[in-house]
Amino acid sequence: MNKQMTAAQVVAQLEDGMTIGIGGWGPRRKPMALVREVLRSDLKDLTIVAYGGADVGMLCAAGKVKKVVFAFVSLDFIPLEPYFRQARQSGSIEVMEIDEGMMLLGLRAASWGIPYIPTEVGLGTDVINKNPDIKVIDSPYDDKEWVAMPALKLDVSLIHVDRADERGVCQIAGPDFYMDDWFARAAAKTFVSCDELVDTSFFHDPAQARLVHWERSVTTGVVPIPGGAHPSSCTPLYGFDVPHFKAYAASAKEESGFQGYVDKFLGASEEEYQKNVGGLDAIRAIALPTY
C-alpha cells in the first residue's frame, strides 16, 4: 500500500473541532511543516494534545485552538512559550493541565482501548482540582484513592520522523522518540512527515529496523518534507534554530505580533517557507544542541 501524500492532502482530512495529538517535545522534532499547513488552512476549534512547543504557540496565535491538553508548553532555552502565554493570559483557550506522565498514561489508555489507567500521579495537586473531568476513584484492591487518568483519544496525530518508506515504516534515528509511539497508537489516523523517503530495503538492515518504534499499520499517511521539523530539531540531522526561535519570541512583543511573523516567514507553501528561512542546506547545517 502506497501511503505517500502531500501536506495539503493531510490537512484536507482534518475537520473543525477535531482532537489532534502532536509528537515531539518542546523544541524537539515537531512536525512543523504539517503545523504550518494547518496555519494556512481555515481549520478552527481544535483540541491540541502535546508536549508543547512552538507548535502549540503558533496554533494558538493563529486562532485555531479551542483547548490545549498540556503539561508544559516551552521552547526550553526560552522557557515560556510567548504565544501560548498570551492565549492563557487573555483567557482565549480552554485547558486541561496535567502531569507529563499523566499524558503518557492517557495516550496508553487510548492506545489500548481502555477507559482509564489508575495512578498516584496528580493526587493532592491542582491537576485534579482544576480538572473536574479527571476522577479520583477507590481501588478494589486497597483502601487508597487513585487518579483514574482518562484515555486521551485522538482523532489525528501529526508526527515528524527522520525516515519512512511509502508503506508507513517510520524511523526515528535521534536519541529519543519521546512519546511519539503512543501518539501514533492513540490516534484514529496518524500522519507522519519525514526528512527522507527511503526504499523498503533500507530497513532490511536490522540496525536500521531497530529504530522503528511502531508498526506500519499505525501509520495512515507519509509526507516527505526534508527539513520539515524546522525550526525545531531533528537530531541527528539538524538542531533547533536558536536565532529563528528568538525572532519568533521577539515577534510577540512587537506591534505586528504573530501576523508579523507569518508575513515574514510562513509563505504560501513549504517551499516558500524554506526560502524565507535560508533554504534546506541552512536548516541541515544547524548545529545540534549541547545539554
Binding site: 500521579v121 493532592g124 545539554y291
Partner: protein, 266 residues
C-alpha cells in the same frame, strides 16, 4: 580535606545541595538548572558514586558530563539508553531524587510552576505548566533550590496553583499519610531548610555565613521553626571546589545568584 576560605555563594549552595544526594544510594539524581545539576554531579563524583544520572537528553551516564560546550573529542560516559518515556518508569518506581526550582513554595511545601495571579481561566502570568511536579512529588524524594529567598517565593497563603503535593492535611489523599510526602532540603541564597519542624513545619537547618535568623524570617511569609542551635552552613573544601570547577569549566555557576556574591558575607 581543607576548608576553603575563598568561595562564592553559588559554590556554597552547590556543596550544601549535594548533601541531599549523599545518602540516597543507587537512585537517579536529577538536578534541573545549573546549581542543582552541579550539586548532583558533585555528589556523584564524591559522596555517592552509586548515583545514576542522565545527560539531560536520552542517555544514562556513569560519569556526569561537564556543563556547556565540550571539546570535539569529548566522549560522554554513556551506560544505557534513558529516553523520556523510560524516565517515568523510573519516577514511578521511586528510585529517584529530583532537585528543582519552583516559582512559589508555600508553608505546606506545596510548589507552583504553572500560573500566577488572576484566575485559573485567565492567569495574570502564565508560566511553564505543572510539568512533572505532580508525579515527582507523590513518587520520590524531592529537594528545592531557590536562588532568591524572598516572600514572593516563600509566600503567604497557598500556592496560586499547586503543582506538587506537600504537607497540607486538607489535600491529603484518602489512604495516605503526610509521611508519604518526602520533601528533603530547601537550599536558598540565605540558608538551608527542611520540613522537619513540628507537624512538618518548615525548619531552619543551617544559616549561610553572615546571614541571621531574622533575615531568613523576614524573607519568608510564614513562621520558620528555629531550633535552639542552628549551625552555619559548612564551607566547601578545596577538593570540592576543584571538582566543581572541573564540572563547570565555563563558570556558568557565576550567573546563578544575583551579583555572584562571596559565600561568606560575615
Amino acid at each position: 580535606m581543607t576548608a576553603a576560605t575563598d568561595y562564592t555563594l553559588a559554590e556554597l549552595c552547590i556543596v550544601a545541595a549535594s548533601q541531599a544526594f549523599a545518602n540516597e544510594g543507587e537512585v537517579l539524581a536529577t538536578g534541573i538548572g545549573v546549581v542543582p545539576r552541579l550539586a548532583a554531579s558533585l555528589a556523584m563524583k564524591t559522596s555517592n558514586p552509586d548515583l545514576m544520572m542522565t545527560d539531560s537528553e536520552a542517555w544514562m551516564l556513569s560519569e556526569p558530563n561537564p556543563l556547556g560546550a565540550r571539546p570535539a573529542d569529548f566522549v560522554p560516559a554513556t551506560e544505557s539508553w534513558m529516553g523520556f518515556s523510560r524516565i517515568f518508569d523510573n519516577v514511578w518506581s521511586g528510585r529517584r531524587h529530583a532537585m528543582l526550582g519552583p516559582t512559589q513554595i508555600d508553608r505546606f511545601g506545596q510548589s507552583n510552576t504553572s500560573a500566577l495571579g488572576g484566575t485559573y481561566e485567565k492567569p495574570k502570568t502564565m508560566m511553564l505548566g505543572a510539568r512533572g511536579f505532580p508525579g515527582n512529588s507523590i513518587s520520590h524524594p524531592n529537594s528545592f533550590f531557590v536562588p532568591a529567598h524572598n516572600t514572593r517565593v516563600f509566600m503567604d497563603g497557598e500556592c496560586d496553583f499547586v503543582s506538587s503535593i506537600g504537607y497540607n492535611p486538607a489535600r491529603l489523599p484518602k489512604g495516605h499519610s503526610l509521611d508519604d510526602v518526602d520533601i528533603r532540603l530547601v537550599i536558598t541564597n540565605l540558608c538551608v531548610m527542611d520540613f522537619g519542624g513540628p507537624d512538618h513545619q518548615v525548619r531552619l537547618v543551617s544559616l549561610h555565613p553572615g546571614v541571621t535568623v531574622e533575615e531568613v524570617q523576614e524573607n519568608t511569609a510564614y513562621p520558620i521553626h528555629v531550633p535552639d542551635d542552628v549551625p552555619v552552613t559548612t564551607a566547601p573544601t578545596t577538593e570540592q571546589l576543584a571538582v566543581i570547577a572541573a564540572l563547570d569549566p565555563h563558570n556558568q555557576r557565576a550567573y546563578q545568584i544575583k551579583d555572584n556574591p562571596p559565600g561568606n558575607r560575615a
